[in-house]
Amino acid sequence: MVTLTAPETAHTSTATAGTASAGATLIDGATLIDLAGSSVRDLNQALHQATDGQAWTVKTPGGKHSLAVGIDADIDVTIDGHAGYYAAGMHQKGEVTINGNAGVGLAENIMSGKVHVTGDASQSAAATGHGGLVVIDGNAGARCGISMKGVDIVVGGNIGHMSAFMAQAGRLVVCGHAGEALGDSIYEARIYVRGTVASLGADCIEKPMTAEHLDELAGLLAAAGRTEDPADFRRYGSARNLYHFSVHNSTSY
């Protein structure tokens, strides 16, 4: 093991370089931070100073909150274990992989880039996300994609109730089943569900799957590394009775 003397961040403040050298080691080209000995603040500060192309590994996350938030560089971050609340929030660039479960508010307000959870995610995953891709291999809890504004979400398992509530734009793909009140008060987001839907929320209806939608869904499944057949899914969206949809605004979504 080599102690990282923060070569890329040597020009930054000495305090920061000090914390990075105290908590990080470089292994196989990836910078390793073990949260058994480093603080979440140190981790996030180091990630904010990372440069494009770097790889980071986080060990012993222990369900701590706010891991890997606000990343604004094209880096790969792997969290080995379960993450707490608001992991990978405000994600801007690069990819965060959580090898485990994620707590409440995963990838909240994600702008772009990718966040991948190999286990389950708790409620409000990808809430208010503006862009990027959130992949959850397991189940997602209630309110998945609540108020999504352009993010794409692919869930391998089931999603809980009130998912895609007031979803404005983006796509939500569910390979399992959806809970009660799916897509309540939905605007222009698109929802694809392979399994059953417990109930649809106000103003959310099933819509026909056309070639355009099969293509779109195939692309999303491929991006998430999934092998489901797009033909097995049904599409849901807004009946546009609850809000004043104007076709002039269609390109805004």
Binding site: G62, G63, K64, H65, H82, G84, Y85, N101, G103, V104, G119, D120, S122, Q123, G141, A142, G160, H161
Partner: protein, 301 residues
């Protein structure tokens, strides 16, 4: 907010570690409720013993010296080996009689006392202040036992008082902790009072505990009692209920309040957040899941 951590040990070889495991869990939920805290421990040697009723009284000072309380109880309950013990900020009174009789004797001896726990298996301890200090004061770390339940409170529905801390233990070996708030508790309280139920506090959770106790008394099993609670109570809740040999978890159908469960062959653990479970032995291979909204989960020893 409020924080909950509960542990049921299936493997008796883990019993000596009950206190230290629960303490490590409690430490991670302090942020969720730093106002006050409470603990319930089951089958802890030195605190309770089978065949003997034990009452947990709020506060270490009951206004009478321990020897006077013991003498008064011995006079009321001859040959019942009445004993009084102060643990942290809690007074434990035990005697080899039925719980009902001991309650009567204690109420006569200490009319001002608040009984916060009763039964043959459970000891309940609660106080105001930093949860880890409360746990340390009561010596949780060293306690052995079969089950443990802890709660850190951020008060919303009633004042920050020791009496308002959870758990609420209002029937033999029954404890209830609550993260959330009941919105129609006053109405249900009035109905229970009409049926003759007596309350110790203004707390909304106490109404939930009294309701469960009343349902159990009417013949419901724990699961049915909690299902009935879901039909009657309005509000937000994640509840954990323990009895002498079982533990139950239920969340309201909206599920605003968090809960996560880890299950292995050795234990079932429930906490408000995963970080409270992270230090448990064998957590890497545990089955970890979030309880579904509105569904009652029960585990028996």
């Amino acid at each position: 907010m409020c924080g909950i951590a509960a542990l049921q040990l299936r493997n008796p070889s883990l019993h000596p570690q009950m206190g230290s495991l629960l303490s490590s869990m409690l430490c991670q939920i302090v942020d969720r409720g730093p106002d006050s805290a409470g603990l319930a421990v089951y089958d802890t040697p030195g605190l309770v013993s089978e065949g003997t009723a034990t009452l947990s009284l709020l506060g270490k000072d009951q206004g009478l010296p321990v020897t006077d309380i013991t003498a008064a109880l011995a006079a009321l309950l001859p040959s019942a080996a009445a004993a009084v013990k102060v643990v942290g900020d809690t007074t434990l009174v035990s005697a080899a009689v039925g719980t009902g009789l001991l309650v009567k004797a204690v109420s006569e001896t200490l009319p001002q006392a608040t009984i916060i726990g009763r039964g043959e298996h459970v000891a309940v301890m609660k106080s105001v202040g930093h949860p880890m200090e409360i746990a340390a004061e009561h010596g949780l770390e060293a306690m052995s036992g079969s089950q443990g339940l802890s709660h850190t409170r951020m008060a919303t529905e009633s004042a920050v008082t020791a009496g308002g801390s959870h758990p609420f233990s209002v029937a033999d070996d029954l404890c209830l902790v609550h993260n959330g708030s009941f919105s129609n508790h006053a109405t249900i309280r009035r109905n229970l009072v009409r049926d003759g139920v007596v309350f110790d506090s203004d707390n909304d959770t106490e109404v939930g505990a009294r309701y469960i106790a009343s349902r159990l008394q009417q013949g419901d099993d724990l699961e049915t009692a909690l299902t009935n609670l879901g039909k009657v109570f309005d509000g937000f809740y994640t509840l954990v209920v323990t009895t002498a040999d079982s533990m139950a978890v239920v969340r309201d159908p909206i599920a605003c309040k968090p809960a996560i469960i880890a299950e292995t062959d050795d234990y079932v653990a429930m906490a408000s957040e995963y970080r409270a479970l992270a230090a448990l032995p064998g957590i890497e291979t545990a089955r970890i899941f979030e309880p579904e909204p509105g569904k009652v989960y029960t585990w028996s020893l």
